[in-house]
Symmetry: C2
Subunit: 345 residues, 2 copies
Amino acid sequence: MKDKVTIYDISKKLNISAATVSRALNNNTKISLSTRELVLKTAKEMNYKQNRLAQALKSGKSNNVGVIVPYINRSFFSSVIRGIEEELTPHGYHVIICQTHENYKNEIEQINTLINTQIDGIFMSVSKTTINTEHIEKALAEGTPLVFFDRKKEVPGVSSVIIDDFKAGYLATQQLIGQGCKRIAHLSGDLNLEIYKNRHDGYTKALEDNNLEVDSNYIIKTNSKIESGASAIEELWKLKKKPDAIFSASDYTALGAIQELKKMGLKIPKDICVTGFSNEPFTKYMELPISTVDQTPQTMGKIAAQVFLEQMGENKKVSIEKKVVLTPELIIRESSNRSIKPVSA
Amino acid sequence: MKDKVTIYDISKKLNISAATVSRALNNNTKISLSTRELVLKTAKEMNYKQNRLAQALKSGKSNNVGVIVPYINRSFFSSVIRGIEEELTPHGYHVIICQTHENYKNEIEQINTLINTQIDGIFMSVSKTTINTEHIEKALAEGTPLVFFDRKKEVPGVSSVIIDDFKAGYLATQQLIGQGCKRIAHLSGDLNLEIYKNRHDGYTKALEDNNLEVDSNYIIKTNSKIESGASAIEELWKLKKKPDAIFSASDYTALGAIQELKKMGLKIPKDICVTGFSNEPFTKYMELPISTVDQTPQTMGKIAAQVFLEQMGENKKVSIEKKVVLTPELIIRESSNRSIKPVSA
């Protein structure tokens, strides 16, 4: 493979500085006309190609898209990214990724960074701490199409691909009720975030539909960390009536809960059933595989990418707004299934 | 959606050349003062924003760095990225991430993408299929500093931060020998990759130092996938003398091996000890926690970032080449520790 000719090659050949070559190529009037002409002629002879970015600045298209997620190391997010890549790579797009670590300020910075790299579009799942949408509106105002996935905000003109979290919460709770559980606790996420609110609402609706009491003592706010699941169990076990099932809005919290329950000598699923959320790979690997909700992340990524491509294909002056809602899949494993005889028992 | 305002829009509106607009915006004195004023006023009215990228093209500094990894969803890589972010964010850098999926062609594309977004530096761990280093040399030739971490190639002028994989392989094998194991199999990675070669060499050296035979039948090439670990066990169990320990160069392969061994009714660590590699979180979560090697990824990321900062601080014309080798940490858990009485047994 022949190396691409760079400004350094031209600089070497003409024995002038690379900076001068660069300025000359950009037709900077600080450089004498004769030098500019010489550089351009030499560049042409050497088959120099001005970089794609410089061209992007002119054409307004870089063929790069950005994805902003809270964390890259959550299976859900990395799988959505995989779906986006699979759909967009054949169309010549490159995917670059930023993570916010759930930090609103980072999110603003990341959006600016992506816009400044002349991105053609942004896919994002908002951070838990995102309090307003000015940074998103700014991206739109600058002409950068944006697609939300999973965690969205209401911003006019922005398409979104989400799953039906209400249904997911309902299905998971209904399954626990089907196992004979009557005191189902919910380890919730931050209810200011739509996804967690909907999971919570699905949970309470399933209880109501089955004439079971919704007891606020059974709803513990957690933060998707393992430790948070363990301390939620500690809190619940201070109650007079202990729960006989846990529906957790996160797999990590479910794992922490299971670890704590085992420490206390409880048998799962016999004494208590547990269901998590997200289908993190470890839920399957455990010796006691954990029931969970699969959010079909690769499909979500693919559809988000398709929505973006549609938007790019149309006259960009027309604003298209699509709201896609995917159906979650409840995966019933040993941790909430009393009819399976555990292999290791 | 409104298209982004470019200098071409301003040029059209004022019926002057784009070059004149550009120069006026850059306050070039070759342009008359009245024209400069008119352009600035119009730009303001049209809500034109000179983008940081265009400025970066001039200043040669974007404050963005890129990280290229095989997969974002391996705990090792996401933790290195975290380390890089923690070190660079306070210095005003933004980190953007690309994944190659172990595909050499993707890697070339990603490097080009990053260079074209005027990145200030690249951190990378090369893909398994990377056959030559022209794309890396090209990045260097264009003046983009590059730091390898974990998986490197020999490229003059490129610094690297790695762990002592030989020592890791040696320590892990030595510990298995210490448990009384005499027929230790090795599930290796691709030996063309330095890291896997070194883990393998550490393994054989430990055997030799303990007067144990190195039997090539006990060395099975695997691909870091769970299934690969299961099929390695199938292969090993065709041998007359079955192994009494497994040292796997990957946690995922170790997990697959453990699942297969359990299916066959073997007790771990009583009948056979197993040690993995990378300290993936699931190794700790398992009911039978898996011994593994911690590669201190956040430290690796931080040091890689420090090497980059040093390079940026110096006169960039001076090439500094640093080779940092970190010491791995063997984490002994139940899967290879016969002195711990398992809680659940």
